[in-house]
Symmetry: C2
Amino acid sequence: MAEMGSADWAFWDTWMRAQRLLVRELDRGLQRDCGISKAEFGVLMTLSGPMRVGELADALDWEKSRVAHLLTRMENRGLVARTEDGASGRRTGVELTDEGRRTAERATRAHGANIRRLVLDRLPPEQAAAIGAWSEQVVGYLDG
Amino acid sequence: MAEMGSADWAFWDTWMRAQRLLVRELDRGLQRDCGISKAEFGVLMTLSGPMRVGELADALDWEKSRVAHLLTRMENRGLVARTEDGASGRRTGVELTDEGRRTAERATRAHGANIRRLVLDRLPPEQAAAIGAWSEQVVGYLDG
DNA sequence: CCCCAGGAGTTGACGTGTCAACTCTAGCGT
DNA sequence: ACGCTAGAGTTGACACGTCAACTCCTGGGG
Protein backbone atom coordinates (compact mmCIF):
# COMPACT_ATOMS: atom_id res chain seq x y z
CA MET A 1 0.00 0.00 0.00
CA ALA A 2 1.32 3.44 -0.95
CA GLU A 3 2.20 5.96 1.73
CA MET A 4 0.40 9.23 2.26
CA GLY A 5 2.22 11.98 0.39
CA SER A 6 2.20 15.59 1.50
CA ALA A 7 -0.42 16.41 -1.13
CA ASP A 8 -2.64 13.72 0.38
CA TRP A 9 -2.24 15.18 3.86
CA ALA A 10 -2.93 18.69 2.58
CA PHE A 11 -6.06 17.52 0.81
CA TRP A 12 -7.26 15.74 3.92
CA ASP A 13 -6.45 18.62 6.26
CA THR A 14 -8.26 21.14 4.13
CA TRP A 15 -11.28 18.92 3.80
CA MET A 16 -11.52 18.31 7.54
CA ARG A 17 -10.94 21.97 8.23
CA ALA A 18 -13.77 22.99 5.93
CA GLN A 19 -16.02 20.44 7.56
CA ARG A 20 -15.17 21.69 11.01
CA LEU A 21 -15.66 25.36 10.13
CA LEU A 22 -19.00 24.60 8.54
CA VAL A 23 -20.34 22.51 11.39
CA ARG A 24 -19.19 25.10 13.90
CA GLU A 25 -20.99 27.83 12.00
CA LEU A 26 -24.21 25.84 11.73
CA ASP A 27 -24.09 24.91 15.42
CA ARG A 28 -23.67 28.52 16.37
CA GLY A 29 -26.63 29.49 14.24
CA LEU A 30 -28.82 26.86 15.84
CA GLN A 31 -27.75 27.94 19.30
CA ARG A 32 -28.24 31.62 18.54
CA ASP A 33 -31.56 31.36 16.73
CA CYS A 34 -33.22 28.60 18.74
CA GLY A 35 -31.15 27.96 21.86
CA ILE A 36 -30.57 24.29 21.09
CA SER A 37 -27.62 22.13 20.10
CA LYS A 38 -27.37 20.04 16.97
CA ALA A 39 -27.99 16.89 18.99
CA GLU A 40 -31.15 18.38 20.44
CA PHE A 41 -32.23 19.36 16.96
CA GLY A 42 -31.90 15.73 15.96
CA VAL A 43 -34.12 14.64 18.81
CA LEU A 44 -36.74 17.28 18.01
CA MET A 45 -36.82 16.18 14.36
CA THR A 46 -37.05 12.49 15.16
CA LEU A 47 -39.53 12.59 18.01
CA SER A 48 -42.72 13.10 16.04
CA GLY A 49 -44.98 11.15 18.38
CA PRO A 50 -44.55 9.34 21.69
CA MET A 51 -41.67 6.86 21.48
CA ARG A 52 -39.68 4.53 23.64
CA VAL A 53 -36.15 5.66 24.44
CA GLY A 54 -34.70 2.67 22.61
CA GLU A 55 -36.61 3.41 19.42
CA LEU A 56 -35.32 6.95 19.52
CA ALA A 57 -31.76 5.74 20.04
CA ASP A 58 -32.09 3.32 17.12
CA ALA A 59 -33.59 5.95 14.84
CA LEU A 60 -30.76 8.36 15.60
CA ASP A 61 -28.12 5.62 15.68
CA TRP A 62 -26.84 6.84 19.02
CA GLU A 63 -26.01 5.06 22.25
CA LYS A 64 -28.93 4.67 24.59
CA SER A 65 -27.05 6.34 27.42
CA ARG A 66 -26.38 9.37 25.27
CA VAL A 67 -30.08 9.64 24.57
CA ALA A 68 -30.94 9.19 28.23
CA HIS A 69 -28.55 11.93 29.34
CA LEU A 70 -29.74 14.30 26.63
CA LEU A 71 -33.40 13.63 27.38
CA THR A 72 -32.78 14.39 31.04
CA ARG A 73 -31.36 17.78 30.14
CA MET A 74 -34.12 18.48 27.63
CA GLU A 75 -36.75 17.43 30.15
CA ASN A 76 -35.33 19.90 32.65
CA ARG A 77 -35.73 22.63 30.07
CA GLY A 78 -39.28 21.61 29.22
CA LEU A 79 -38.69 20.45 25.65
CA VAL A 80 -39.72 16.84 26.19
CA ALA A 81 -41.68 14.90 28.79
CA ARG A 82 -41.29 11.33 29.97
CA THR A 83 -44.54 9.40 29.76
CA GLU A 84 -45.91 6.46 31.66
CA ASP A 85 -45.90 3.32 29.64
CA GLY A 86 -48.23 0.36 30.22
CA ALA A 87 -49.65 -0.79 33.49
CA SER A 88 -46.41 -0.73 35.45
CA GLY A 89 -46.40 3.02 35.76
CA ARG A 90 -42.72 3.12 34.91
CA ARG A 91 -41.67 6.20 32.95
CA THR A 92 -40.29 4.53 29.89
CA GLY A 93 -41.57 6.58 26.99
CA VAL A 94 -40.93 10.13 25.87
CA GLU A 95 -42.71 12.77 23.80
CA LEU A 96 -42.44 16.40 22.79
CA THR A 97 -44.07 19.09 24.89
CA ASP A 98 -45.86 22.01 23.23
CA GLU A 99 -42.77 24.06 23.85
CA GLY A 100 -40.73 21.32 22.18
CA ARG A 101 -43.02 21.34 19.16
CA ARG A 102 -42.76 25.10 18.82
CA THR A 103 -38.99 24.95 19.07
CA ALA A 104 -38.84 22.16 16.50
CA GLU A 105 -40.88 24.22 14.07
CA ARG A 106 -38.72 27.27 14.51
CA ALA A 107 -35.49 25.26 14.34
CA THR A 108 -36.48 23.54 11.11
CA ARG A 109 -36.89 26.89 9.39
CA ALA A 110 -33.83 28.55 10.84
CA HIS A 111 -31.49 25.61 10.42
CA GLY A 112 -32.76 24.86 6.93
CA ALA A 113 -32.19 28.44 5.91
CA ASN A 114 -28.64 28.32 7.28
CA ILE A 115 -27.84 25.09 5.48
CA ARG A 116 -29.17 26.53 2.27
CA ARG A 117 -27.29 29.77 2.66
CA LEU A 118 -23.95 28.31 3.76
CA VAL A 119 -23.92 25.16 1.70
CA LEU A 120 -26.53 24.38 -0.89
CA ASP A 121 -26.68 27.79 -2.51
CA ARG A 122 -22.93 27.72 -3.01
CA LEU A 123 -22.65 24.16 -4.25
CA PRO A 124 -22.37 23.80 -8.04
CA PRO A 125 -24.33 20.81 -9.38
CA GLU A 126 -21.31 18.70 -10.22
CA GLN A 127 -19.85 19.17 -6.75
CA ALA A 128 -23.20 18.26 -5.23
CA ALA A 129 -23.32 15.14 -7.38
CA ALA A 130 -19.81 14.11 -6.37
CA ILE A 131 -20.46 14.66 -2.70
CA GLY A 132 -23.79 12.89 -2.89
CA ALA A 133 -22.23 9.88 -4.58
CA TRP A 134 -19.38 9.76 -2.10
CA SER A 135 -21.78 9.99 0.86
CA GLU A 136 -23.94 7.16 -0.40
CA GLN A 137 -20.92 4.99 -0.92
CA VAL A 138 -19.49 5.63 2.54
CA VAL A 139 -22.80 5.03 4.26
CA GLY A 140 -23.07 1.84 2.25
CA TYR A 141 -19.83 0.30 3.38
CA LEU A 142 -19.45 1.73 6.88
CA ASP A 143 -23.06 1.38 7.94
CA GLY A 144 -24.41 -1.63 6.08
CA MET B 1 -35.06 32.44 -0.41
CA ALA B 2 -36.31 28.96 -1.32
CA GLU B 3 -37.23 26.47 1.39
CA MET B 4 -35.39 23.25 1.99
CA GLY B 5 -37.18 20.45 0.15
CA SER B 6 -37.17 16.87 1.31
CA ALA B 7 -34.52 16.03 -1.29
CA ASP B 8 -32.33 18.74 0.21
CA TRP B 9 -32.76 17.35 3.71
CA ALA B 10 -32.03 13.81 2.51
CA PHE B 11 -28.90 14.98 0.74
CA TRP B 12 -27.74 16.82 3.83
CA ASP B 13 -28.57 13.98 6.22
CA THR B 14 -26.72 11.42 4.15
CA TRP B 15 -23.71 13.66 3.84
CA MET B 16 -23.51 14.33 7.56
CA ARG B 17 -24.11 10.68 8.31
CA ALA B 18 -21.24 9.62 6.05
CA GLN B 19 -19.02 12.20 7.67
CA ARG B 20 -19.90 11.00 11.13
CA LEU B 21 -19.39 7.33 10.32
CA LEU B 22 -16.05 8.06 8.73
CA VAL B 23 -14.73 10.21 11.56
CA ARG B 24 -15.89 7.68 14.10
CA GLU B 25 -14.09 4.90 12.27
CA LEU B 26 -10.87 6.88 11.99
CA ASP B 27 -11.02 7.89 15.66
CA ARG B 28 -11.46 4.30 16.70
CA GLY B 29 -8.51 3.25 14.59
CA LEU B 30 -6.31 5.91 16.15
CA GLN B 31 -7.42 4.91 19.62
CA ARG B 32 -6.95 1.20 18.95
CA ASP B 33 -3.61 1.40 17.16
CA CYS B 34 -1.95 4.20 19.12
CA GLY B 35 -4.03 4.92 22.20
CA ILE B 36 -4.58 8.58 21.34
CA SER B 37 -7.48 10.77 20.28
CA LYS B 38 -7.71 12.77 17.08
CA ALA B 39 -7.04 15.96 19.03
CA GLU B 40 -3.90 14.47 20.53
CA PHE B 41 -2.81 13.39 17.09
CA GLY B 42 -3.08 17.00 16.00
CA VAL B 43 -0.85 18.11 18.84
CA LEU B 44 1.73 15.41 18.12
CA MET B 45 1.85 16.42 14.45
CA THR B 46 2.14 20.13 15.15
CA LEU B 47 4.59 20.04 18.03
CA SER B 48 7.79 19.43 16.08
CA GLY B 49 10.09 21.39 18.39
CA PRO B 50 9.66 23.30 21.65
CA MET B 51 6.84 25.82 21.35
CA ARG B 52 4.87 28.25 23.45
CA VAL B 53 1.33 27.22 24.24
CA GLY B 54 -0.06 30.18 22.34
CA GLU B 55 1.86 29.32 19.19
CA LEU B 56 0.50 25.81 19.37
CA ALA B 57 -3.02 27.10 19.83
CA ASP B 58 -2.65 29.44 16.86
CA ALA B 59 -1.19 26.72 14.65
CA LEU B 60 -4.07 24.39 15.45
CA ASP B 61 -6.67 27.19 15.46
CA TRP B 62 -7.98 26.05 18.82
CA GLU B 63 -8.79 27.94 21.98
CA LYS B 64 -5.86 28.33 24.34
CA SER B 65 -7.81 26.77 27.19
CA ARG B 66 -8.54 23.71 25.10
CA VAL B 67 -4.83 23.32 24.43
CA ALA B 68 -3.98 23.85 28.09
CA HIS B 69 -6.44 21.18 29.24
CA LEU B 70 -5.29 18.72 26.60
CA LEU B 71 -1.61 19.33 27.37
CA THR B 72 -2.29 18.67 31.04
CA ARG B 73 -3.77 15.28 30.20
CA MET B 74 -0.98 14.48 27.74
CA GLU B 75 1.62 15.56 30.25
CA ASN B 76 0.14 13.17 32.81
CA ARG B 77 0.53 10.37 30.30
CA GLY B 78 4.09 11.29 29.47
CA LEU B 79 3.56 12.38 25.85
CA VAL B 80 4.64 15.99 26.30
CA ALA B 81 6.62 17.96 28.87
CA ARG B 82 6.32 21.57 29.94
CA THR B 83 9.60 23.41 29.70
CA GLU B 84 11.04 26.40 31.49
CA ASP B 85 11.11 29.48 29.35
CA GLY B 86 13.47 32.41 29.80
CA ALA B 87 14.92 33.67 33.04
CA SER B 88 11.68 33.76 34.97
CA GLY B 89 11.60 30.01 35.44
CA ARG B 90 7.92 29.95 34.62
CA ARG B 91 6.83 26.81 32.80
CA THR B 92 5.45 28.41 29.68
CA GLY B 93 6.73 26.24 26.84
CA VAL B 94 6.00 22.68 25.83
CA GLU B 95 7.74 19.96 23.82
CA LEU B 96 7.41 16.29 22.93
CA THR B 97 8.97 13.63 25.09
CA ASP B 98 10.72 10.64 23.52
CA GLU B 99 7.59 8.66 24.17
CA GLY B 100 5.61 11.39 22.43
CA ARG B 101 7.92 11.28 19.42
CA ARG B 102 7.62 7.50 19.16
CA THR B 103 3.83 7.72 19.38
CA ALA B 104 3.76 10.47 16.76
CA GLU B 105 5.78 8.31 14.38
CA ARG B 106 3.56 5.30 14.86
CA ALA B 107 0.37 7.38 14.62
CA THR B 108 1.42 9.00 11.38
CA ARG B 109 1.80 5.64 9.72
CA ALA B 110 -1.31 4.05 11.20
CA HIS B 111 -3.60 7.01 10.69
CA GLY B 112 -2.30 7.69 7.21
CA ALA B 113 -2.90 4.09 6.24
CA ASN B 114 -6.44 4.27 7.58
CA ILE B 115 -7.21 7.49 5.72
CA ARG B 116 -5.86 5.98 2.55
CA ARG B 117 -7.77 2.74 2.98
CA LEU B 118 -11.09 4.28 4.04
CA VAL B 119 -11.10 7.39 1.90
CA LEU B 120 -8.45 8.11 -0.68
CA ASP B 121 -8.29 4.65 -2.23
CA ARG B 122 -12.04 4.73 -2.78
CA LEU B 123 -12.26 8.27 -4.11
CA PRO B 124 -12.40 8.58 -7.90
CA PRO B 125 -10.33 11.52 -9.21
CA GLU B 126 -13.30 13.63 -10.24
CA GLN B 127 -14.92 13.26 -6.82
CA ALA B 128 -11.63 14.16 -5.17
CA ALA B 129 -11.39 17.23 -7.38
CA ALA B 130 -14.92 18.32 -6.55
CA ILE B 131 -14.43 17.82 -2.83
CA GLY B 132 -11.10 19.58 -2.92
CA ALA B 133 -12.61 22.56 -4.69
CA TRP B 134 -15.49 22.71 -2.25
CA SER B 135 -13.15 22.54 0.75
CA GLU B 136 -10.97 25.34 -0.52
CA GLN B 137 -13.99 27.51 -1.13
CA VAL B 138 -15.48 26.91 2.31
CA VAL B 139 -12.19 27.56 4.08
CA GLY B 140 -11.90 30.71 2.01
CA TYR B 141 -15.16 32.26 3.08
CA LEU B 142 -15.57 30.88 6.60
CA ASP B 143 -11.99 31.27 7.70
CA GLY B 144 -10.66 34.30 5.83
C1' DC C 1 10.36 53.56 41.97
C1' DC C 2 5.60 52.33 41.95
C1' DC C 3 1.50 51.16 39.86
C1' DC C 4 -1.26 49.24 36.77
C1' DA C 5 -2.87 47.68 32.23
C1' DG C 6 -2.49 43.96 29.17
C1' DG C 7 -0.97 39.58 27.46
C1' DA C 8 0.00 34.60 28.38
C1' DG C 9 -1.29 30.68 30.64
C1' DT C 10 -4.16 28.18 33.89
C1' DT C 11 -8.16 26.79 36.30
C1' DG C 12 -13.12 25.88 37.42
C1' DA C 13 -17.84 25.28 36.17
C1' DC C 14 -20.62 23.26 33.14
C1' DG C 15 -22.56 20.80 28.87
C1' DT C 16 -21.84 16.86 26.33
C1' DG C 17 -20.37 12.03 24.89
C1' DT C 18 -18.61 7.14 26.04
C1' DC C 19 -18.21 3.07 28.73
C1' DA C 20 -19.40 0.19 32.32
C1' DA C 21 -22.14 -0.83 36.22
C1' DC C 22 -26.48 -0.64 38.13
C1' DT C 23 -31.92 -1.07 38.67
C1' DC C 24 -36.17 -2.52 37.39
C1' DT C 25 -39.53 -5.34 34.98
C1' DA C 26 -41.20 -9.05 32.26
C1' DG C 27 -41.09 -13.51 30.90
C1' DC C 28 -39.77 -18.09 31.22
C1' DG C 29 -38.52 -22.82 33.23
C1' DT C 30 -39.09 -25.71 36.93
C1' DA D 1 -45.35 -19.75 42.90
C1' DC D 2 -40.34 -18.97 42.93
C1' DG D 3 -36.25 -17.59 41.13
C1' DC D 4 -33.38 -16.44 37.22
C1' DT D 5 -32.14 -14.18 33.22
C1' DA D 6 -32.55 -10.92 29.39
C1' DG D 7 -33.67 -6.50 27.97
C1' DA D 8 -34.71 -1.58 28.74
C1' DG D 9 -33.48 2.44 30.97
C1' DT D 10 -30.69 5.02 34.16
C1' DT D 11 -26.71 6.51 36.54
C1' DG D 12 -21.78 7.50 37.66
C1' DA D 13 -17.06 8.13 36.43
C1' DC D 14 -14.37 10.04 33.31
C1' DA D 15 -12.67 12.43 28.75
C1' DC D 16 -13.24 16.43 26.22
C1' DG D 17 -14.64 21.31 24.69
C1' DT D 18 -16.23 26.17 25.78
C1' DC D 19 -16.63 30.23 28.45
C1' DA D 20 -15.38 33.16 31.98
C1' DA D 21 -12.61 34.20 35.84
C1' DC D 22 -8.26 33.94 37.73
C1' DT D 23 -2.83 34.26 38.31
C1' DC D 24 1.44 35.77 37.00
C1' DC D 25 4.67 38.23 34.53
C1' DT D 26 6.13 42.38 31.85
C1' DG D 27 6.43 46.86 30.13
C1' DG D 28 5.22 51.55 30.00
C1' DG D 29 3.49 56.21 32.37
C1' DG D 30 3.62 59.10 36.48
